[in-house]
């Protein structure tokens, strides 16, 4: 992928990610999150991970965001009332996040291997669905089954949580 497209999608992801945090209206936040996830899916595809990119669009921009919007509508959340901002707490939270960011950037700058470009693939149109599937059902079969149990438990838990208590 050309550097220009990389920076376009990276900026799209980051700007709309920041909008999620800054917006006061939950619906606007959720819609910014969709755009951010779409930019991220484009970044995955720029790394030749087409399957992961498509899963990102289907699961996140599709299912998870529908869930978020559905809950926002169900609870009828309005934009947050403009409360008095606790400036000390806000400055502290921002400070911790900035310190984390500076640390991450410092570490990345000092990894020499990270300054190299990506090595070329043998075949740019690899069949990565088949390869991921093969890895999933051979090397990673046990974790895959465990994730299946986890999803089952989550389903049962959600049904139990959202059931009304009998009076």
């Amino acid at each position: 992928m050309s550097p220009f497209l990389f920076w376009v999608f990276a900026l799209l992801t980051l700007i709309f990610g920041a909008t999620v945090v800054v917006n006061r209206n939950p619906v606007a936040s959720a819609l910014s999150l969709v755009v951010s996830f779409l930019g991220l899916a484009a970044l995955f595809m720029s790394l030749d991970a087409f399957f992961v990119g498509i899963i990102q669009v289907l699961v996140y921009a599709g299912a998870v965001m529908v869930l978020f919007l559905f809950i926002i509508m169900l609870l009828n959340l309005q934009a947050e009332a403009r409360r008095q901002i606790n400036w000390l707490a806000a400055a502290g939270g921002t400070g911790v996040a900035v310190v984390l960011l500076v640390q991450i950037c410092f570490v990345i700058r000092h990894i020499r291997a990270a300054q190299q470009t990506f090595p070329p693939l043998a075949n740019p149109t690899t069949d990565d669905v088949r390869n991921i599937g093969a890895a999933l059902f051979s090397n990673y079969n046990l974790p895959f089954q465990i994730v299946g149990v986890l999803v089952l438990v989550a389903t049962i838990g959600v049904v139990l949580l959202s059931r009304r208590e009998p009076r």
């Binding site: 990102q56 998870v64 869930l67 090397n139």
Partner: protein, 106 residues
């Protein structure tokens, strides 16, 4: 040319944005969305590492992509449970603000 560190910078900035959201916002739904941002930042760096480690056959390292697949599954389950807890909480307290939910606070 785009290097690995560019992807890692984007991933780090996205993680910090999500972290700031968890620290700063008081609406539980926004906090859950910020958690999703952090998980996706981790996914981005995993996919970048997967593409960076090309094996002798010229294939990317698929272990990282399988890991991303697991992360997406677990994150979806986590969001479903989190939103169910949120709905139950709203039914009991009529609020989604973490300032109003402090019975367990030390």
């Amino acid at each position: 040319m785009i290097t690995l560190s560019d992807y890692l910078f984007v991933s780090g900035i996205l993680f910090s944005i999500g972290f700031a959201g968890v620290m700063l916002r008081r609406n539980l739904i926004i906090i859950l969305m910020s958690l999703e941002l952090m998980l996706n930042a981790a996914n981005l760096s995993l996919v970048a590492f997967s593409r960076f480690r090309v094996d002798p056959n010229g294939l990317p390292n698929y272990s990282a992509q399988v890991f991303v697949f697991f992360i997406i599954t677990v994150a979806a389950a986590e969001i479903a449970v989190g939103l169910a807890i949120l709905v139950a909480l709203y039914r009991a307290r009529q609020t989604t603000d973490v300032k109003d939910i402090s019975s367990l606070k030390f």
